[in-house]
Amino acid sequence: MMRKMRFAALLLALLLFCSMVACKKQSGKTKYSAYYFDYFDTVTTVVGYADSKDEFDRVCASITAQLEEYHRLYTIYNRYEGLNNLYTVNETEDGVHNVVQVDEKIMDLLLYAKEIYTLTGGRTNIAMGSVLSIWHEYREAGMHDPAGAELPPMDALRAAAEHTDIEQMILDTENNTVFLADPEMRLDVGAIAKGYAVEMVAQQLTADGIEGYILNVGGNVRAIGTADGDEPWSVGIENPDTEDTETPYIAYLHLSDAAVVTSGSYQRYYVVDGKNYHHIIDPETLLPGEKYLAVSVLCRDSALGDALSTALFLMDWEEGRALVEFTPNVEAMWTLPGGEQKYSSGFEAYTFAMEK
C-alpha cells in the first residue's frame, strides 16, 4: 500500500517536472543574426527565427534591398545617377532650388515630417538642415583631428537658423514635386528617416506573411511578430553612462510587434576641450540638448518612436511627459544626467528583471 502511494507520488512529481519544463513552447526554428553597415551611416542588426539559414538569408535579402532603397532616397550626402533623392532636393542651381520630381516614398516621408513638426511643437524639424550641416562639418573635422576640434561659431549657426522654416518646403502631392522656396534652406531627415524606413520595412514583412524577426537600425528597434513560439523578444536598453562599467543595460523590455527607439547623447558625438558634443541639436539654443543622457520611446510604430525620441530629448520632462500621456499607445523612459530614470505611466509594464 505504502509502496504504491510512494510510486504514485514520485510519478506525479515527475509529471509536474516534465510539464514545467515543457511549458516553454518550442517552434523548432533556429535563431540567426546578421549585421550590415551600408544603410543610414549606422549598423543594422537583424535577428530572426527561421527553419533554415537559406530562409533567413532570403528574408535578410528582402530587408536589405528595402533599406538600400530608402537609404538612397533619403540620404542628403550622396547623389545617385538617374535618381532624384533628398540630395537633389537640397541642391541649388544659380542660387535657387529646383522643383524636384520625387518618388512617393520621399513625398510620404516629407508629409509625415510636417505632421511630426506639429505634434512636437517644432522640436523635430527636418528644415534644420542648414544648422545641422554646420555641426556635421565641425564634428567630422573634429573626429579626424581631435587636437584641432572646434565648436561651430555661434553667429554662423544663428545665420543658418534664419532658414529653417518648414513652411518654405512646398509639397505638391498632385505632381509629386518638392520645392524649397527659401534658397538658403536645406532638409535633414536624420531625426526621422531611420525610424520611418524601419517601420515601412516591418510593415512590408508583415504584409508578406513574415514574422519572428527583430530589426535594429542605429537604435531604432522594431519587432515583427513574436520571438520563438509565443515568447516576446527581449531587448536590453544600453546604459548611456559609458563610464558605468557594472551596468550594461538600464532596462530590459519585452516586445512583440512593437518598436523601441532610443535617442542618446552617447550615440554620435565629438570632443572639444574635454567636453562631449552630440548630434541632437536644440532648435532654440542651436546647441546639443543637455537635459538627458538618453530617452527611449516604446510604441507600435518606429517612425513615431524615432520622431518622438528626438523631441522628448529636447523637452523639459513635464512637457515631454504630457506629450507622451496625450499620445495614445506611447510610453517613454528618460535617463537624467545623474543617471536617474523617469518613466511614463505605462512603461514599466513592459520591463522585466534579468536573472543573473
Binding site: 512529481a13 553597415f37 549598423v43 550594461p248 523601441v260
Partner: protein, 128 residues
C-alpha cells in the same frame, strides 16, 4: 503509525520538494537562458572571423579593411577594445562586455564583437 512509516513519509516529502525545486530551477534556466556568455565572437562586415573563450585572458589585434586595427582584450571573463585606429573611437570607449547578446560595434571598421554562449540562447535578443 510507526516511526518507520513517519520517517518514510518525511523522506517522500523531502524528495517531492527537492524534485519540485529542481524543476523550478530548470524552468527558470530554460526561460531566461544563460546570462554570462562563453565566447567573444568577432564579425567583420557581418562574417564571423574568430571566436575567443572568455575564460582565457588574451590580447589580439583585429585587422579590417583599409588598415583598420582594433585590439580585442579578454581579461577576467570580459571583452573590450583596448585600442583602435578608427576616427570616432566609440568601440574603445565602450564598457567591457560579458553577457549574452552584448555587442561592441566599430562602425568605421565594420566590426562587431558579440558575446554568445556555448548552449543555445539566453540573455537579450537585441541590445539598443
Amino acid at each position: 503509525m510507526g516511526t518507520n512509516d513517519r520517517k518514510k513519509i518525511r523522506n517522500d516529502i523531502i524528495l517531492a520538494v527537492v524534485l519540485l525545486a529542481v524543476a523550478a530551477a530548470a524552468m527558470l534556466f530554460w526561460h531566461f537562458g544563460k546570462v554570462e556568455g562563453d565566447f567573444a565572437v568577432v564579425l567583420i562586415d557581418g562574417v564571423e572571423t574568430a571566436r575567443y573563450a572568455l575564460d582565457t585572458d588574451t590580447e589580439v589585434v583585429i585587422h579590417t579593411d583599409n588598415a583598420g586595427e582594433n585590439t580585442l582584450v579578454i581579461a577576467g571573463g570580459k571583452a573590450y577594445v583596448g585600442a583602435a585606429n578608427c576616427p570616432d573611437l566609440v568601440c574603445a570607449g565602450h564598457r567591457a562586455i560579458s553577457r549574452v547578446g552584448e555587442t561592441i560595434v566599430c562602425l568605421p571598421h565594420k566590426l562587431v564583437i558579440k558575446i554568445t554562449a556555448a548552449s543555445d540562447a539566453g540573455g537579450v535578443d537585441m541590445a539598443a
